[in-house]
Symmetry: C2
Subunit: 230 residues, 2 copies
């Protein structure tokens, strides 16, 4: 069997994509490989977040158990995906349970060593931030692509509904936080802003902060009906 | 006019969401507020990435100019959104131009001060990583929701197509990187893995790494035809 240096595997993990060889090697040095068996609990709700994991092989389920014992699966993670990193990065306890769904191998990155690594190596922290930023940007664009067919129509319907329940006033004050409205419409705040901007440019509304004035009621109504794009 | 401390505004920026007050204050201290006028070039393609920006008010266009002088808009950013942070985090030059689309205010975070801040404050780096990780996770779930209607059908069609061009063999070796296949299908690798897993559980295929064996040709064909979910 050929033994691969850990950095060659780590370089293929999206979280570490584009890191320099030396940085991958440093990460490899603080990581610990762990075998997990099908059904094994990797961490439990409330455990101290002593470190995070990246799956090498296998599948891991992250879930909560409700008061009445019902299991709610939050995420399923596969090869190359990190899990437990959010509470570990924030210094919190694990807010859920993680269980191996099949025999596999996970890499464990202890929080303490990770912190030390970053302290001596702030460039690595920036690189990791860059990787995540870049992925976020790609994901934002994809969400925009996927939701741009439906969000304008839904937003138009929402604005017409708000106008009705506010007694027909053409000026609507959005009293719901933008991120909440975005998830109500099945998208993200960034896309919502863009859609508002486009509606404004098309002369359908005038949007200024949380204040929206309906300028073209018929246009808005037809957008809400057809559900079409802008 | 009431002057707000910068940290109160910074706390509402998604990139800094959930940071402690002291951390926001430290970020506020290294940031510089800049007025930008409509049409102003904020940075140009090839400029040294001396720092990144977060938009306070206004709208910024990030674009490339092709050899024949044509402008290609890459992103439009609005209030609360960072721009230029990827090249700044990686230590590269700006790979595109940024121009203010309206009068506005941007906050500038010099790379050098940001690095110093993180060196003395590795917890801040971890917190920022946590913020980005959490957003990525939310975005991943949303992409899954948005694309789960269409990706299974498209993947089924792709597998049938591969089977045809490989002379009818029921075993297909995916010789395309997973992230490329994911974008071909309009999704992300994480969702692609999940869809493969579900197809496997439903008995349509047997999937092991890049090797996929078609087990239920009719089922796959009907999935490709109806484009329905799993």
């Amino acid at each position: 069997m050929r033994v691969e240096p850990p950095e060659s595997w780590l370089g293929a993990v999206p979280l570490f994509e584009g890191l320099a060889l030396g940085q991958l090697r440093a990460l490899g040095e603080i990581s610990e490989e762990r075998q997990v068996s099908k059904g094994e609990i990797i961490f439990s709700d409330g455990d101290d977040g002593a470190g995070f994991f990246v799956i090498k092989t296998g599948m891991v389920k992250v879930y909560k158990v409700s008061w009445d014992g019902k299991e709610q699966v939050l995420h399923l993670f596969g090869p190359g995906e990190p899990f437990g990193e959010v509470p570990v990065f924030t210094g919190d306890r694990f807010p859920a349970n993680a269980q191996a769904m099949e025999d596999g191998v996970v890499m464990f990155f202890p929080r303490r060593s990770f912190l030390t690594l970053i302290r001596g190596n702030p460039d690595l922290a920036l690189k990791l931030l860059a990787v995540l930023s870049k992925r976020l940007r790609r994901f934002t664009a994809l969400i925009e692509d996927l939701s741009l067919k439906e969000v304008p129509g839904r937003l138009a319907a929402y604005l017409l509904y708000m106008k009705e329940i506010r007694g027909g006033d053409m000026v609507i004050e959005l009293d719901i936080p933008k991120n909440l409205l975005a998830s109500l419409l099945g998208t993200i705040p960034e896309t919502l802003s863009r859609v508002l901007g486009k509606m404004d440019k098309k002369g359908l509304i005038e949007s200024e902060g949380p204040r929206i004035r309906i300028k073209d009621l018929d246009g808005l109504a037809s957008l809400a009906e057809t559900g079409g794009g802008l």
